[in-house]
């Protein structure tokens, strides 16, 4: 399971988000990833290390290559976190519903 802090800081970089978007369509090697981003392989490798450390991708060994793919659990954690943020906001607004209901009652009491 990824650490959410490192997952979010990993996602704060546009290149890393683009790499994840590319990996969403399937496994890729460092060489395949370096091409569209016009970056050197060591630069891509550094980004992959951050994504791997954050639990967002996994890599396997195939001869001298280490192809990477999305870690399904990593993406789930982000989704779950957004769901929790939604829940916290929703709780505020549920409380606001009660405040508004009380305001309506107050107003009715004030009416002659």
């Amino acid at each position: 399971m990824p650490n959410l802090d490192s997952a979010f800081s990993a996602l704060a970089d546009p290149t890393r988000r683009a790499i994840l978007a590319r990996l969403a369509s399937g496994e890729a090697t460092v060489m395949e990833l370096a091409e569209p981003f016009e970056m050197t392989q060591p630069a891509i490798s550094r980004h992959l290390k951050v994504l791997e450390g954050a639990g967002l991708i996994v890599r396997r060994v195939e001869g001298t290559k280490r192809p990477c793919r999305l870690a399904p659990n990593g993406i789930d954690a982000i989704e779950r976190w957004l769901a929790m943020l939604r829940e916290a906001l929703a709780k505020n607004y549920d409380r606001l519903d009660e405040v508004l209901a009380d305001m309506t009652i107050e107003r009715q009491k004030d009416m002659p």
Binding site: R86, N92, M103
Partner: protein, 154 residues
Amino acid sequence: MSKMTLKTEGDKHLIVTRHFAASPEAVYRAHTEPGLIQKWLLGPEGWTMPVCISEARPGGKIRYEWTDGKGGGFHLTGEYLELVPFSRIVHVERMHLPQTTPDNHVETRFEQAATGTLMTMRMTLPDAETRAAMLATGMQHGMEASYARLDATI
């Protein structure tokens, strides 16, 4: 049925919408009058807002201080830019955690709907990095209960 939506738009925006079974006037007042704000803008169970300054006029100050009652807390400051009773509020805000977050520019609209009021809150952050960081810090502060639930489900 969930009445609230939360979504990202482009690189810098976050949009929240919510229906309320009350008039735009009541919803607007609940967003601008300190005594009302303190009743609901609290986050997780157990948190309170002992200090609430809301000077609802252009240039007016905003200051919300939250505490968990156990020594934990943080605050938010901001300024009102534009107010159109009872339909529109534009303000900027930043959190102090204690490090200060970049300004969040917020436009909140209240529209008369058949069954009450539709609120649309549009937040604009300086960039995608800030938005991601804001979403992340929102979790670190005041969402311990949710963390605990997450821990329990893993």
